[in-house]
């Protein structure tokens, strides 16, 4: 074939045009910092980047959710600490009040201190964060306990509040019925009112030595259980936060570099992790199925 000048010209022109296009593309990538600016550059990577961008925004919301829950957990933690300390003082006062050598005035002084402790309990029950009462369950904008120590929160509002953490519904709250009642029935405020009334009465020892101490025992064990559950919730949120942080780092890097090698490695790692976790779920689950449970319960 004879190569004409026109053909040479066209070829050179085409080469120049292509080179210009490549230069322009590189320039665009340089300014945007992305290898794939338009889906036509690499449709698969572009789609994936778009998916990951969406997930990234979702994870950022989960991070905010976790941060809110963390605030609640810290509040519950410090409040249950205080409740524990106040209960301890209450125990001392009950034991002290049951002393036969005390005069009526001595007992009245103890009753006054119990009234003050009751006020502190009420304040703790009505703790709020950003206008939300943390022990009020579903009625978080209403005080759960009035100034006299009556639980005014409705029984219908006594529900677990949950938040979405990575598509996992996480329940984190405690209500007044959890933290301020004995076995979920009698309010701890009533217990203190009865204590105060009995101490001002004629013969308080019977009530103090049997009923009051026994109820306080059960209340303290209730508080211990809340401390344990809240501690476990704290661990859970810490774990979730760490996972969200890891994902944000990976996804941000992916979006800036768009490296498929990293993507496949991460995807494979996730599949391996899935297998590891599923194996862990299968172990240890049978302990409570043993006949031993019947043996000790029957």
């Amino acid at each position: 074939m004879r190569i004409t000048h026109n053909m040479l010209h066209n070829t050179v022109l085409k080469d120049i045009t292509n080179t210009y296009r490549d230069v322009a593309k590189l320039h665009e990538q340089g300014s945007s910092g992305k290898k794939v600016r338009y889906p036509s550059d690499d449709a698969i990577v572009a789609t994936r980047a778009s998916n990951i961008g969406t997930k990234l925004r979702e994870i950022e919301q989960y991070q905010r959710n976790a941060s809110t829950v963390e605030t609640y957990i810290k509040s519950y933690d410090s409040i249950t600490d205080e409740l524990g300390a106040l209960s301890y003082r209450l125990r001392e006062l009950i034991v002290n009040g049951a002393n036969d050598t005390l005069t009526a005035d001595d007992r009245a002084t103890i009753a006054q201190e119990i009234d003050r402790i009751k006020d502190q309990f009420i304040q703790l029950a009505d703790t709020s964060i950003s206008g939300e009462y943390i022990f009020a369950g579903a009625e978080s904008i209403k005080m759960p306990v009035d100034a006299d120590g009556n639980i005014v929160m409705s029984a219908e509002a006594n529900v677990a509040r949950s938040v979405d953490l990575g598509r996992y519904r996480f329940e984190y709250n405690f209500t007044v019925y959890d933290a301020f009642t004995v076995d979920g029935n009698e309010s701890v405020f009533n217990l203190m009112s009865d204590l105060s009334k009995n101490l001002r009465g004629d013969n308080p020892n019977g009530y103090l030595n049997s009923h009051a101490l026994e109820k306080l025992d059960r209340y303290e064990s209730n508080i211990q259980s809340i401390i344990a559950r809240n501690g476990a919730n704290g661990n859970f949120v810490q774990m979730a936060t760490n996972r969200f942080d890891d994902s944000v780092v990976f996804m941000t890097e992916y979006l800036s570099k768009e490296q498929d090698a990293d993507f496949m490695e991460t995807y494979t790692n996730l599949q391996n992790l899935q297998a590891v976790l599923q194996a862990a779920m299968k172990t240890g689950g049978n302990i409570m199925n043993y006949s031993l449970v019947d043996y000790v319960r029957a």
Binding site: K55, F236, A280, S291
Partner: protein
């Protein structure tokens, strides 16, 4: 105390000791989950399997010793510990203390186990969430031997049937 009752008490103590060790392991596993140390976590899962086996053996031992104690006391085999203690009278007090401690340990074990399961369930659901983000589907599926895609989920981008 009759010899079998002493042996039974020793079995309960061993059970409690093993359960407490198991609780410590579960707590370490939880910490691994928090830190994302999955290789260590996997190794600990093997240890958990050892605990399962050990507890099963102790339970078998418990059943055997308990039955021989029942024979000694002339009560039906398989009688519950509360009835055995009642039959033993004052001698059963120490045994009851061991049982109470063992039950307390079992409660703690259940609590730790539930917490770990909750963490695992979160991780599993989060992995699915990440995979969906990466693949644009619930799972990144390939084609099965029949040439049809297995379980491809419909998404905004993919509306076909595989």
């Amino acid at each position: 105390m009759v010899k079998e009752a002493e042996t039974l008490k020793a079995v309960f103590n061993e059970f409690e000791h093993t359960v407490r060790e198991n609780i410590a392991l579960l707590k370490t596993q939880q910490q691994c989950m928090i830190n994302g140390e999955y290789e260590v976590f996997e190794q600990l899962t093997f240890k958990q399997e050892d605990f399962d086996r050990k507890l099963r053996l102790i339970e078998q031992q418990r059943a055997a010793v308990s039955d021989s104690l029942c024979e000694e006391l002339s009560i039906p085999t398989g009688t519950s510990i509360l009835q055995i203690v009642e039959k033993l009278g004052d001698e059963g007090r120490e045994l009851m203390v061991s049982v109470s401690r063992m039950i307390e340990a079992m409660r703690e074990l259940t609590f730790s186990r539930t917490n770990l399961e909750r963490m695992i369930n979160f991780q599993l659901s989060y992995i699915e969430f990440l995979q969906a983000g990466m693949a644009g589907t619930g799972k990144m599926h390939t084609y099965n031997p029949a040439g049809k895609s297995a379980n491809l989920q419909k998404t905004e981008r993919f509306q076909g049937d595989g």
